[in-house]
Subunit: 190 residues, 4 copies
């Protein structure tokens, strides 16, 4: 927005011009907005499923090493482990290893093959083919958003797995959205 | 958004239906967003000037008591004094009374007539007629927004007063936007 | 903090005095802090268990009406339903009623006796006697905090129920902390 | 905090042990806190004055190039220009160049010698010797803090300059605190 100048204030037309100026949009250089948007939340949720399927595909085409490389990149980019603990309760994790606060624990969950996590069989290695989700509700607070809903995963045998999933997303200074909370659980059977 | 149901998953068309569902908008009952918006910032800035002129009008029509009543209502509604201190440096305040952290000090500044603030002549009593502003930049962070720019006030003698003004706005749990910071100063003459 | 005055600046000792002033604490009237603290998080977690046991006690002593009255008061005070949806996935809720975004659904879960929620048997009516929790991690972001960990409930027959629980707490303008997210699930059995 | 284990629950002493555990502090690996603290605010305010004096000293010892290098480093480290606009209204800036939203404008203000900013004489070149400040009030909201108060600068001739100053600080993902808002003005003379 250009700065107000005296010449705009000729007695007759000045005020109209000023009002036009005042209602003009600010350019990118003149506005900062650190808040997370619904579009960014959706993009992050879409990316999560796409990444899971990518790890699965890479495992089939390149084995565990390729899957591990991809999973590490996903965790580096999509989760907040590089900034501190992530509150992660994976679907199929229990006992003393229920919570995966650091990246090693998350990687073990997704691709297994870590003796320190003997129960992990590699959730991302299970031949996933497609993914969709249905948010029951979304809560936005500053640079953080919480989502809760059903997530559906379908494998290459068309077997569907549904989980109840809560995500907490945090938008960083770099504008990237990362998962800082992830609670996934099997539906209650009744 | 309606919850996902099994019947959508007929083998052939189910996934398309699910994707449509997932991209649907959430209703008001399913989304919470505590963040302040550009529209809310603009509305609060517009309201500030309108309120100043209203106090001025009420002073002319009803004297100091009417002006005081209006100013009190404005401070109750548009400033955050009921929740704690407001960081307020009025344009024409100096010395040991430069900062008006509580509502009494703010009221004294706007309508004067308070022996505890002998230098205050009542900024809102000065026959204001119109108001406009020009934001140089806006910074949005969660439920808080900061604006900085020029504010122009014109009185009934068409005399214009321009100030450099910074506002800090906070959106409350009730969805209302209140001023929590206000630094106003005369332009540097050079 | 008292304002800096000229008299402090006698050439020899002035600077020392000024430094003392500058390091003084601000009084309550001079500082506002909207952030949630670890102590407030702990108090909210403690209160949740205490409230659950209270509902249980009131059910035994006064029947369903007394339990319902207490549960309603708990939901009004400790959950954020009065400000919008709460992202609530109770432990024993499934199917199309997995998520309880509004207060009616939450009340049905805790005290049952609502024909619209036929699967609900009243989680808070189950003779709870004691409660403790063990946070695996806590994430604090502004006025919001997320906790994830194990929660243990023991009933009057000394039977223990353990759940994996995620809470999202939001501190309001009134300084009160309310639950805006609650995902509870039975441990994965492996 | 160590995870809760069954062995703690021997019938007689278990609950006491659990309560002790639950009241234990979380380690750095188990807690994330993005909020800005009063200590961080004070450190940032102290650093601002120290940096100003450093530029002044470097100008005397090494001329304009050394001053410029130091000032650039200060702006890179202490201001948020690398993330977007900074709402900066320097004390002695007026007219169409009142606001310095980008780093070039801020640098010109502090060290002058920029033909695009002909009125700038270099505020940081003025032989500053000591600095102190007196916060009238502080407002903390998440990772952002606002301060308002008097700032006193004393030059090598013992001449004191006092300004009314508002700062907005933002804590970044890297834990560093940067100025995103800075409104400085000469005291109102009355």
């Amino acid at each position: 927005m250009t700065l107000f100048t005296k010449t705009l204030f000729t007695k007759k037309s000045g005020i109209v011009l000023v009002l036009l100026t005042a209602s003009g949009s600010l350019s990118a250089a003149e506005i900062a907005n650190n808040n997370i948007t619904e579009a960014e939340i959706k993009a992050a949720q879409d990316a999560w499923g796409k990444a899971l399927i990518q790890i699965s595909d890479d495992y089939r085409s390149g084995g565990i090493e390729k899957a591990k490389t991809t999973a590490t990149a996903v965790l580096d980019g999509a989760y907040g482990y590089n900034n501190g603990p992530v509150l992660f309760k994976p679907t199929l994790a229990g006992g003393e290893q229920t919570f995966r606060l650091n990246q090693e624990g998350a990687l073990a969950y997704f691709v297994g093959n870590n003796q320190a996590y003997p129960a992990d069989t590699g959730f991302a290695l299970k031949n996933w083919k497609s993914y969709n989700y249905d948010n029951a509700a979304v809560y936005i607070n500053g640079d953080m958003a919480l989502t809760m809903g059903k997530v559906h995963l379908i494998d290459r045998d068309n077997k569907e797995t549904t989980v109840d999933k809560t995500w907490g997303f945090k938008k960083g200074d770099d504008g990237k959205v990362r998962i800082v909370l992830h609670h996934s659980s099997l539906p209650y059977a009744g």
